[in-house]
């Protein structure tokens, strides 16, 4: 029975959850589930996994925008139908994986993908720069300091050679978040692009009581910079601007405290985080560049600073060494020298755990 707008409870189904995973496993996956023995990357973006049963599965990984249209998804379906028995998957970093068991179809699939202009670049495996994990930006969110998709496009264009090759010392994982909410793993990425505000919010005193719950707004500020204040007849709030560190959390709680600002907003770059437990423990990304203005449409300074970091790492890092491991080895003093980035007061932490980041040893390099 079709949907009846006048009776939305009719036949209502809820709480069914997602389709069970194995409904969309290709047969060769189902058969070899849990039996995989080893894998090998045959060329950048192309993997084979070999099962204990002797079966092989070939995977071709392609980059995509995370923001896709139904047209693109239909193209993907066409390709998957033609070569992959009608199955396809997305990775945890928004790449598409075409899998097939029949080796004969591998080269035709690759050729087909290559024939489609810049829609389906092959790569993102091994010691490469894979797809940038990112967020909404100006396309959908209400709190961004920067765009997401556009910055990602500009950066990936510049670093494209590293997507389709595996010549870096190790994986470089880049992430972007358009505000301090950090919807993604920006806080633990080799390179992180973060949208930042630099102006305290302003208070629309006549709107606050209408659209916000004042106690929640006050509680939202990590630095207790917000106090209740009566303005004329209105119950409103006051912001102690000197205490503000521009997190935007008060705006999340209250639309009458706009924080976005064309002159204030921009990008901070962070480096050296990682997630895997391989060799070294997971670690946070650290500040590399405190602020770069928004430069749409192609954010040249941002792109250029990232390039500097990648190139310094590409030439100085040792095999298996993630960016953070490389910096740990050479020291932060050398990182700033080799990238040519400026060390400024913003790099020195002054928040709650600040003292754990100061140098409490005479060990450093001149």
């Amino acid at each position: 029975m079709p949907f009846d707008p006048n009776n939305i409870m009719q036949d209502r189904i809820t709480d069914i959850g997602p389709p069970k995973y194995d409904k969309s496993f290709p047969p060769f996956i189902k058969q070899n589930y849990g039996k995989w023995k080893y894998h090998e990357i045959l060329e950048p973006g192309v993997l084979v996994h070999v099962s204990e049963t002797g079966a092989e599965v070939f995977t071709v990984r392609v980059g995509t925008c995370r923001l896709v249209s139904v047209d693109l998804v239909r193209d993907v379906c066409d390709i998957a139908d033609k070569y992959c028995s009608g199955y396809v998957r997305w990775t945890t970093r928004n790449n598409i994986e075409f899998m097939l068991a029949d080796k004969a179809k591998l080269q035709p699939l690759i050729a087909d993908l290559r024939s489609r202009g810049n829609w389906f670049p092959i790569g993102g495996t091994g010691a490469s720069i894979t797809n940038i994990v990112h967020t909404q930006g100006w396309v959908h969110c209400h709190t961004p300091a920067i765009d997401a998709s556009g910055v990602v496009k500009a950066v990936m264009d510049e670093l494209f050679e590293y997507f389709g090759s595996m010549k870096l010392p190790a994986q470089v994982r880049i992430a972007l978040a358009c505000c301090l909410n950090m919807c993604g793993a920006v806080h633990c990425s080799d390179i992180a692009i973060l949208g930042v505000h630099r102006k305290p919010p302003f208070v629309e005193a006549d709107r606050v009581e209408k659209v916000c719950e004042i106690p929640l707004v006050i509680a939202a500020c990590p630095l207790a910079a917000i106090k209740p204040k009566k303005v004329g007849d209105h119950k409103a709030v006051e912001i102690n601007e000197k205490r503000c560190m521009f997190c935007g959390n008060c705006y999340t709680m209250c639309p009458a405290l706009p924080i976005a600002d064309q002159d204030g907003d921009g990008i901070a770059l962070w480096v050296g985080g990682k997630v895997s437990n391989s060799r070294t423990a997971p670690t946070f990304s650290k500040l590399a560049v405190p602020y770069i203005p928004n430069e749409p449409p192609r954010w040249p300074t941002t792109v250029n600073d990232i390039k500097k970091i990648v190139e310094a790492y590409a030439s100085g890092g040792r095999r298996y060494e993630r960016i953070g491991e490389w910096i740990e080895r050479i020291g932060w003093e050398r990182f700033f020298e080799r990238t040519g980035l400026e060390f400024r007061h913003e790099h020195i932490d002054d928040y709650r755990l600040a003292m754990t980041t100061w140098r409490t040893t005479t060990q450093f390099k001149f």
Binding site: P19, F25, L47, R89, V133, A260, V275, S278, R319
Partner: protein, 424 residues
């Protein structure tokens, strides 16, 4: 193809080798005014360097407290077709395998009832349908559930859509049935997923091994990460083959050519615990010292494999910075067998939630509560025993909250007796 708004800045993003979201949107914009206006508004944002969406707005489907993010343009005068532009989070199948049939059906639905734009996938893992109007929410939900057997994911102060790595479906290292674990907790906790009852959001993520390909340790309130308790399995012939240059090291991740593996430099010296030795013929691993970091296995996938006594390490409390600063997840259960019906795990989770719901403030993530009340408070609430595996280092500050129960006579003082012993 003349679109309604000029977009000279966005057009710049059609150039270059990486796929262009602008080109992609443009082809749909040709038939969908919503996308036309979206491009127009985005161009305005590029000019003004400020976003043009109003603050939030609570919309949703009946009976659910999450799954839809309301969004309205702040220039409906200029871009009336994105006056409403809500997203719907569709709970993806675990580890994101799809049939093309499912996808095509989703596209058709979304072509008809939404913008035709999606995020594949959202950072939490959902298949995000990007941009529709309020009146379409119920019909879409109806068709999703009835026609496609799909449901919404989480948003708001509830369980968020769980997500996991590809695991045993296509990875030789997985110590867990990641899909099944994710499916299990998604299904078991449907109510928590759809109806906000928590102080704030709560996320599960599951990786099959410590490589953590779903970044669980950084992004989930409860990270379930596969591991093993026994020995790394070694194929000594394959070790020799790597050393002899007969195999491709690191599964080709650093180049697909065969080359001699300098096992000392590339494996043994990089082992964080230095628990390996190679005598030229055999590789010896002192497994009792191994911390299962995966590095040696990563480098020699054909020679080394995780052990067979597998299970998970549970780490809790990861989150982004707001409010109290970013956190990585901390070990709470060093090892737990994760086998259906996962009862031990469910019990743990439910105790943890009870503790959080009882003690958590509004918008206080579970990780922040652990910070505020201390790891011990969580352990007690979940009947877990303190273990050195839960810490990097024992405390170095001497401000210890001793338990009065351990003090003879508790905290009682006898001031009179004291002043008999000591003149003031």
């Amino acid at each position: 193809m003349a679109l309604k708004h000029k977009t000279p800045m966005l057009d710049e993003l059609e150039k270059g080798p990486w796929p262009s979201f602008v080109s992609d949107i443009k082809r749909v914009a040709a038939r969908k005014p919503m996308c036309e206006d979206l491009l127009g508004q985005l161009e305005l944002s590029y000019e003004q360097k400020e976003g043009h969406w109003k603050h939030g707005g609570i919309v949703g489907v009946f009976g659910y407290g999450g799954g839809v993010i309301g969004r309205y343009s702040d220039r409906p005068d200029l871009f009336p077709n994105v006056a409403h532009f809500h997203t719907m989070r569709v709970n993806q199948p675990a580890s994101k395998f799809y049939t093309t049939a499912m996808l095509r059906q989703l596209c058709d639905l979304w072509e008809k009832r939404g913008s035709g734009l999606l995020n594949l996938h959202g950072s939490t893992g959902d298949a995000v349908l990007l941009g529709t109007t309020t009146d379409q929410l119920e019909p879409i939900f109806y068709e999703l559930t009835h026609d496609m057997g799909m449901d919404l994911g989480g948003s708001g102060s509830n369980l968020r859509t769980p997500s996991g790595c590809v695991g045993r479906a296509r990875c030789e290292w997985s110590c867990l049935d990641t899909q099944d674990i994710i499916y299990d907790c998604t299904m078991k906790y449907q109510d928590e997923l759809h109806r906000p009852a928590f102080p704030y959001k709560y996320k599960f993520k599951c990786s099959g091994c410590p490589n953590d390909c779903v970044a669980a340790i950084a992004r989930s309130d409860c990270a379930i990460i596969g591991t093993w308790r026994d020995k790394i399995r070694i194929d000594q012939d394959a070790v020799r083959a790597y050393v002899g240059g007969e195999l491709v090291t690191n599964g080709g991740a650093h180049g697909t050519d065969k080359r001699v593996l300098d096992i000392q430099a590339e494996v043994i010296n990089l082992c964080p615990t230095k628990c390996m030795e190679f005598d030229g013929k055999n590789l010896k691993i002192w497994d009792e010292d191994c911390t299962r970091c995966m590095h040696c296995i990563n480098v020699m996938p054909r020679a080394l494999r995780p052990g067979t006594d597998v299970g998970a390490t549970i780490l809790c409390g990861a989150k982004a910075p707001i409010l109290e600063g970013a956190q990585l997840a901390s070990v709470v259960i060093p090892f737990i067998k994760m086998e259906p019906p996962y009862e031990e795990f469910h019990e743990f989770v439910e105790k943890l939630w009870d503790w959080w719901m009882e003690n958590g403030k509004n918008r206080e993530r579970s990780g922040e509560l652990i910070q505020r009340l201390g790891l011990n408070s969580l352990l007690q609430a979940c009947d877990l025993t303190p273990d050195p595996r839960m810490i990097k280092t024992p405390r170095y500050n001497p401000y210890i909250f001793y338990d009065p129960a351990d003090v003879p006579g508790g905290w009682e003082h006898d001031p009179v007796a004291f002043r008999k012993r000591h003149q003031a």
